[in-house]
Each structure stands twice: as structure tokens, then as C-alpha cells.
């Protein structure tokens, strides 16, 4: 330390203020942990109870043909689980969806990387990928049906088309932003092409892959439903149409509930993976 300088900070003789750390009371601690969940549960149960009171009475507000009472829906769900209808339709839609998504994910990642790695190929292909992304894919369904018939293939194909582009475009963008310094570092430590891909490219684009999958997951679920409405003899959307034809609204709502559950599971899964992979990317922005 230099000779001329001396410590002059709080030379007033007044001791610094003690600032006690706030200790939460048990109630505060409980509320902090379970509060949000509690609010959601209370909120939902009030809503469902009101719904039950209004629609479950002998004189419902809206014709129960359009909006059944919650308990009737529960009955219908139990019935459809017991007689195997729900499983039959849900497995049909689910299989189409999962197969389609799997193809879209694999193809989207591979093509995104191949097109993204080379700047010239990237700029040439960019126009086409955007055309693909902006085409209202649903409008192609009649053509797909002419090409592949009303069977499973046209349905899966629609799911693939809807999921593929968002994944590919995101992967392509991710690949394009890979930090060349990281590549250089890896090469200096002796990385070969395979290692560059596994240790840099893939982990780097993982957040982009997840963003693409999230968008694709929602679009493709829409694809499954629309393809079944256009023509099908199975599936959850078919079940909705059928039950509605029979004026059995509780039955349609059963299928809708199944679709909601499905969507919820998918989004929850994507969210979990995303949280892990996004943590470094979100945080390294600051």
C-alpha cells in the first residue's frame, strides 16, 4: 500500500448499523412454498363448482347438449376408460403423433445441421425453408389424401410437415451462430470432425433444438386433429365428431380432455428438458 494513503472511510466513530437477516415465520415459509399451487387449486375448484351448480341443475343456463356438467364429463370419462373406447382412440392419435414428431425431429435436426454448416448452402436454402415454414401446411392435406389415401400415412405425413420446418429453421439458426472461437479451441486440443460435432455443435445447438420442438409439438398436435376430422374411422378427433353427432356432449368433452392431457404432458416434458439446456444460454446473455 502507498504511504500517503490512509483509511478514512467511516471515521465518525459511529458503529455501523446491524442489519438482521429476515427469518421467515413458518406461515411465510409455507406460503412461499405452496402458495401458488394453493391459489390455483382453490381457483379451479371454485370455477368447477360454479360450473357444476349452473349446468348440473334441473334448469341449466346453457343447453347441456353444448356444455355438460363437470360430473357428467367425469362419468363419461370413466365409462370410456372402462369400455376401452378412450384407449383405442387415444392410442391411434398418439401413435400417429409420436411417429410423425420423431420423423420431424430427426429430419429437422439433420437437415438443419447440413444446411446450416455451410454458409453458401445456408443462404441458398434459406428462401426455400421460409417458403416451407410459411406455407399453411394444413391446406396441403387434400393433396396428401389424394397422394396417400385416407389411411395412416397421410395423417403422419401432415404431422411431419407441420413439425419439420420449425425444428429445421431453429437448428439452422443455431448452427449459424456457433462461436468460431470454441471450434478453434477444440481443434487445438486435437478434436477430429466427429468430436467437433459431438462436443461443440450438438451441445451448442441443443437449446435451439428444444425451441424448435416446442413450436413443432403444438403445431403437430393441431395436424393430428385436422387430419382426423378430414376423414378417419379412429382417433380422438374422430371420437369428438362421432359423439357430437350422437348429441353426447359429455363424450366429446372426454376426448377433448384427453387431448388437453396429451398436450400438457408433451409441453411439460419439453419444458423440463428446456430448463436444463437453456440455463447456460439464457444466463450467458447477461
Amino acid at each position: 500500500m502507498q504511504k500517503g494513503a490512509s483509511v478514512t472511510d467511516t471515521a465518525t466513530g459511529v458503529p455501523p448499523l446491524e442489519r438482521p437477516l429476515p427469518v421467515p415465520t413458518p406461515l411465510q415459509a409455507f406460503w412461499g412454498r405452496f402458495g401458488p399451487t394453493l391459489i390455483t387449486v382453490i381457483n379451479l375448484s371454485i370455477f368447477v363448482n360454479m360450473w357444476q351448480i349452473v349446468q348440473g341443475s334441473s334448469d341449466p343456463l346453457v343447453n347441456t347438449r353444448w356444455i355438460p356438467a363437470p360430473l357428467d364429463i367425469v362419468d363419461a370419462i370413466i365409462l370410456n376408460i372402462k369400455n376401452g373406447e378412450l384407449i383405442k382412440h387415444a392410442s391411434f392419435s398418439g401413435t400417429n403423433y409420436l411417429i410423425g414428431m420423431a420423423i420431424a425431429i430427426v429430419a429437422g435436426i439433420i437437415l438443419g445441421i447440413l444446411l446450416g454448416l455451410n454458409p453458401i448452402v445456408r443462404s441458398v436454402s434459406q428462401a426455400y425453408t421460409w417458403v416451407g415454414f410459411c406455407t399453411p401446411t394444413v391446406a396441403l392435406l387434400p393433396i396428401l389424401i389424394i397422394l396417400f389415401g385416407l389411411g395412416v400415412i397421410s395423417k403422419i405425413f401432415l404431422v411431419v410437415l407441420m413439425g419439420f420446418f420449425p425444428i429445421m429453421i431453429n437448428v439452422l439458426n443455431g448452427v449459424a451462430t456457433i462461436d468460431p472461437v470454441l471450434m478453434k479451441a477444440a481443434r487445438l486440443f486435437g478434436a477430429n470432425r466427429g468430436q467437433l460435432f459431438r462436443k461443440i455443435t450438438l451441445p451448442y445447438i441443443l437449446p435451439w433444438i428444444m425451441i424448435g420442438i416446442r413450436i413443432a409439438a403444438e403445431r403437430s398436435l393441431g395436424g393430428v386433429i385436422i387430419a382426423e376430422i378430414f376423414g378417419s374411422s379412429r382417433g380422438l378427433a374422430y371420437m369428438i365428431a362421432q359423439e357430437t353427432d350422437k348429441f353426447n356432449s359429455a363424450g366429446s368433452y372426454t376426448a377433448i380432455a384427453a387431448l388437453m392431457a396429451f398436450s400438457l404432458i408433451v409441453l411439460y416434458g419439453v419444458d423440463r428438458v428446456e430448463q436444463k439446456t437453456l440455463s447456460w444460454r439464457e444466463a450467458s446473455k447477461y
Binding site: V181, L182, K184, L188, F189, G190
Partner: protein, 264 residues
């Protein structure tokens, strides 16, 4: 510890757009002794990074060659490791896993954990093993960069302006830290900087480069006794004399370059 010999090294870049050739290094000759702490100072754009890239094997010489322990450089190899100015850490890897990176690529996983533990305490990162790079300060990130390079136990360690992105205070602190650490290890060190203070604080010998195309202008011996991190060398006459000498040399270079560009 290996000797690094540079013979008639010329590196040219083809500038595709202007159909011109840029001479980055011109007939550069240099011998860095085994175990030496060799510092290179030079004005910006004189070819320092090009020089490092050539030693490391990323850039092919247009003419001449680089020998490591008598063997010509054919490409990157585990006998050399680099510490980068912008750290070049993998943002998704923890401190520990980043340090493991080089060993992993070189397939040296046996005994890796022991080496990693050692270098972590060598660079003073104990307790930060599980942190991600963005949770660290710049100085700490560069310690990770150094640890990653040291973990591969290179014979020659190359540092390209490793403190260029740090603030002045941290920079001074890191200079002392690195001197301390590198004195405890035994590799040949080639350290690039454009800070005169850094050169005088760290180097056994200091090469001053000419403004591009890069050549070695002078090599100065640094007589300041080691270890330097314990004493306040900045007030010593020997420090300031050396500092002034380098300053004058670099100033001449800059003036020469400016007069060239005004005549053109």
C-alpha cells in the same frame, strides 16, 4: 520443456476480395529456449496472433518452418496448448468439465480426475468446480482457461493476450498470479501481449516486433530477479528503464508506420 525454433518464417494471407496478398510475418527467426518465459510485444496488427496460430499448427507457413524440440510442426498436437484472450470456454460445461475438455479430446481419461484436482487447486478454483462460466468473473474464467491448458501437460504453453479483456486492477492481479503458477510448472511459455508493463513483469526475455509485416526487431533480456510477484517492482529503476526502452522501440515502430501511410 521443449525448445521452439522459428526459421525464416513467412506467412502470407490471400485477400480474396481484393486479389491481393497480405504479408503478416516476414522472414521471422527466433529461438525460444526450453523452460523459458518468453514474451512478445508488438503493435496491433503486427502478426502476433498469426505467429501463435502458426506455432500451434492452424496456419501453414508460406515459407520457413517452426520446430518444436527439433521436430517440424505438422498440425495441432498435445505438446502445445493455448490460452485464449476471450477464454473460449464451453458455456454449457462446468468449470471442472471445461478443464477436462482437452484431456477428453485427447482420450486421456485415465487419471484425469487427479490431474484436474491438482490444476484446480494450482489456479485457485477450489469450491468453484460446479459453476458454469457465466457465473464467474473474467479473471476466474481465465484461470479456467489456464487450468484447461495446463491439465493437458503441454511442453509449450502459448498465451495470446490472455488478460486483454480484463480491467486494469484484475489484470495486474492476474499477472502476479500467473507468474506464481507458471513458475511452479516447467513448460516453455510464449506469452503475447501489447502491454509493456505485462511484458516487463512477466518475461525472461522480451521480443519487440516491428509493425507489420511482423519481424523480431529486438530481443531484450529482463534482469529483474524472480519471483517478481512478491516485490513491488514498479517503483524500481531497473523496471522503469526496461519499460522506457520498450516504449521507445514501439514508438519508433509506430512513427515509421505512420510515415509510410502518409507517403502512400
Amino acid at each position: 520443456m521443449l525448445e521452439v525454433t522459428i526459421e525464416h518464417l513467412t506467412v502470407e494471407y490471400e485477400l480474396l476480395r481484393e486479389k491481393e496478398i497480405l504479408v503478416a510475418l516476414w522472414d521471422l527467426n527466433l529461438r525460444v529456449l526450453p523452460g523459458e518465459f518468453f514474451v512478445i510485444v508488438g503493435p496491433s496488427g503486427c502478426g502476433k496472433t498469426t505467429f501463435i496460430n502458426t506455432i500451434v499448427g492452424l496456419v501453414k507457413p508460406t515459407n520457413g518452418r517452426v520446430l518444436i524440440g527439433g521436430k517440424p510442426v505438422m498440425g495441432p498436437g498435445p505438446d502445445r496448448a493455448v490460452v485464449f484472450q476471450d477464454y473460449a470456454l464451453m458455456p454449457w460445461r462446468t468449470v471442472e468439465s471445461n478443464i477436462k475438455f482437452g484431456l477428453e479430446l485427447q482420450g486421456r481419461l485415465k487419471g484425469a480426475n487427479k490431474i484436474i484436482k491438482e490444476v484446480i487447486s494450482l489456479v485457485g478454483l477450489n469450491g468453484f468446480e460446479e459453476c458454469l462460466p457465466h457465473e464467474l468473473s473474467g479473471g476466474m474464467r481465465q484461470r479456467v482457461g489456464l487450468a484447461r491448458a495446463l491439465a493437458t501437460e503441454p511442453k509449450v504453453l502459448l498465451l495470446d493476450e490472455p488478460f486483454g479483456a480484463l480491467d486494469a486492477m484484475t489484470r495486474e492481479m492476474m499477472q502476479s498470479e500467473f507468474e506464481k503458477i507458471l513458475l511452479r510448472t516447467s513448460q516453455t511459455v510464449i506469452f503475447i501481449t501489447h502491454s509493456i508493463d505485462e511484458a516487463v513483469t512477466l518475461g525472461d526475455r522480451i521480443a519487440v516486433m516491428t509493425a507489420g509485416p511482423g519481424q523480431v526487431k529486438v530481443i531484450l533480456n529482463n534482469q529483474i530477479p524472480r519471483p517478481r510477484y512478491e516485490i513491488d517492482i514498479r517503483n524500481k529503476k531497473i523496471y522503469n528503464d526496461l519499460r522506457d526502452e520498450i516504449w521507445q522501440l514501439l514508438k519508433d515502430e509506430q512513427e515509421a508506420q505512420m510515415s509510410i501511410s502518409t507517403f502512400e
